[in-house]
Symmetry: C2
Subunit: 436 residues, 2 copies
Amino acid sequence: MDPNTNSATDTRLAADFALTGISRLVTVAPERYGSGPLGVIPNGALAAQGGRIVWVGAEADLARAVAVEAIPPAARHDAVGRAVLPGFVDSHTHFVFAGNRAEEFQLRHAGVSYEELARQGRGILSTVRATRAAPEETLLALGRGRLESFAIHGTTTVEGKTGYGLEPESEARCLAVMRALAAVPNLPTVVPTFLGAHTLPPEYREHPGDRAAYVDLICERMLPAFAADARFCDVFCERTAFTADEARRILEQARALGYALKLHANQLGPTGGARLAAELHAVSADHLDFASDEELDMLNGAGVVGTLLPGCSFSLGIAYPSAQRLREHGVRTALATDFNPGTSYSENMQMMIALAVSAMGMTLDEAITAATRGGAAALAMEAEVGSLEPGKRCDLIVLRGDDERELAYHFGVNLVARTYLRGHLFMGGEGSTERG
Amino acid sequence: MDPNTNSATDTRLAADFALTGISRLVTVAPERYGSGPLGVIPNGALAAQGGRIVWVGAEADLARAVAVEAIPPAARHDAVGRAVLPGFVDSHTHFVFAGNRAEEFQLRHAGVSYEELARQGRGILSTVRATRAAPEETLLALGRGRLESFAIHGTTTVEGKTGYGLEPESEARCLAVMRALAAVPNLPTVVPTFLGAHTLPPEYREHPGDRAAYVDLICERMLPAFAADARFCDVFCERTAFTADEARRILEQARALGYALKLHANQLGPTGGARLAAELHAVSADHLDFASDEELDMLNGAGVVGTLLPGCSFSLGIAYPSAQRLREHGVRTALATDFNPGTSYSENMQMMIALAVSAMGMTLDEAITAATRGGAAALAMEAEVGSLEPGKRCDLIVLRGDDERELAYHFGVNLVARTYLRGHLFMGGEGSTERG
């Protein structure tokens, strides 16, 4: 049968979107597609229907497999010889907040001490004040602009944490903002996480029983109220924030209410957070700068994804966590921005890939995998996103060049020419940001 | 007199371009304009005539000082509340070359040794092969695309070195490319440097007398031939390249022929390069990772600008040079990308500012100064570019935000919304790069 004949006996796949002219189609599904650790298909093509990929392969095979001629011409796109990758899955961000801490950053790097900055009312509590004071429309506009910039830089799924409200009404407002943004078409997919246990709120820092009272507030009021809106519960388990015991209490209650679990663990010192993440079978343990060998083995055994956040090390000017240690202990690795106003103000996953290769000892293949499938695993969304395979969302990026190996090498610039969200070209964001 | 009356007695300045609506006009001329180490004028404005700034000040004073109403409306631009800075002056790049070394970079970071990479024919000599083989039109197209990307990221003056030709005809071709690009309107200003002494060419690596013969070739044939086209002569003085004695011979001959001098000095070890730069009163000594205290004092005494290139440390994953040491020894500092295919493949000066603050111990004020006026000093062009003052070129950038303090803090993204070259908005580059 002529493959281009559309007849009643046509067994080809129906599609409403096709992308051809791809120099290297980086599927990140090496177990399924041939070449190398990233499953690269040279001269590839891809088709989707209703925002989901239905076919991936060599362009020469497309017309035999897919009823391409039935796709409206405007939905048949040409990658003009560029490389195509899955959209980045940024599994750890704090993108809903108000206020600006640019000046704090500069003062810190000019040698002003933490104590002095705190005395001036700067630091995380300044973001809490600004976020509490911001109307929902303000948070929505800020969040939307940031999601547009994520998309311009190639990120198609963004996890977002609360944690700058720190009381029921403000935390609810931040979740409402994420719910509203998740409903906007043609923005990255938003995955909301409740992080009421980000830091102790200012009004709970004065009396001996305050810590316990705030943990009570989280467990008794906030967790039950937010179970429908937040997919994950996270705790900042650190010397300066919450102990492993407090984290355990919160996370066990969250688990009972149906939340999946995440944990900020062992960023600034050994806290037992990574051990706790393994014991509770959290989906991910994030940071891990100071996780012990034993803890890494436990994470591996429990199938917990280790999320590395090199933007923090860059921004703080401190040592980087070792990707090699996670590799040696068999811990599955995700790479994320930790986009936040205090310690990592970057929405560009390409920058994290460059840092992973140049400063954390990852190979490029590992870094790309960690920024796509690893991120999907860290959100328990591997069936949905993170690789280019039939059944997954048609979330992908077209690079400016013909080779994914430009990533990391050509650093500090945006190598993403186009972002597709569920099969639709992202075209927003130019107004608010003028240029990516 | 009514300031808006255009009469024979009008003593106001004539202008053909004005920029208003500037939240913070960062002049980088603090000795002339009020506020802080960057000379910031809040609610500023600026006027230019024939591509040169004629007036800088508070917007409230503009109409009294400049005949604004005579400027064609299309040349009266509004910065819509954004911050404005001088365009970046990138005083050290190698932007004219052919070939691609992305794969080499990835192999290196995957642990493949230098010896193995050399055995595979990679490394600088692969760029030399590709550049020698490239027709002038190819080098021109590549160079033009790169200059457009420099401009998109806010750089308005770009020094460019030869050094991938390494024989008279190919070196001449690279200089011809820079001469041609310098003549294209609405591209960054190109400042050509002859770096025939970049590495020993392959055909001069076999016999005992080869080194001396290649230095002869430089001194006797190339230097005299290129004196009209290249403003600077530079030598890569390093264990792996040319000795201080060889560098001295080349640079003394260059000086006699009218070249100004630069030197790649003390990047990988103590070579005496910095001392030589001071002795010869070079305009700049670049890298300086391993300069001794005595050498830094000599550079200071001789008025040599020290150019720091943090992109190399980032890209190679090695220690950063210390900006603090230059500060302590009073060495005037420039910041540059070292854009090149082997050790720093980034055209974004904002990235270098972020690295300077996060990894080299500069304050933001120092980093911005080093990226603008410092770069101008490293090119002996301080009378022309590097700050926003009457008499200088109207080369400037409008940021995406209202505060220059977003730089360094908001890293890994392009914060430049618009670039002006000699008073004209840069609008090219979108085609070749799709998006900055």
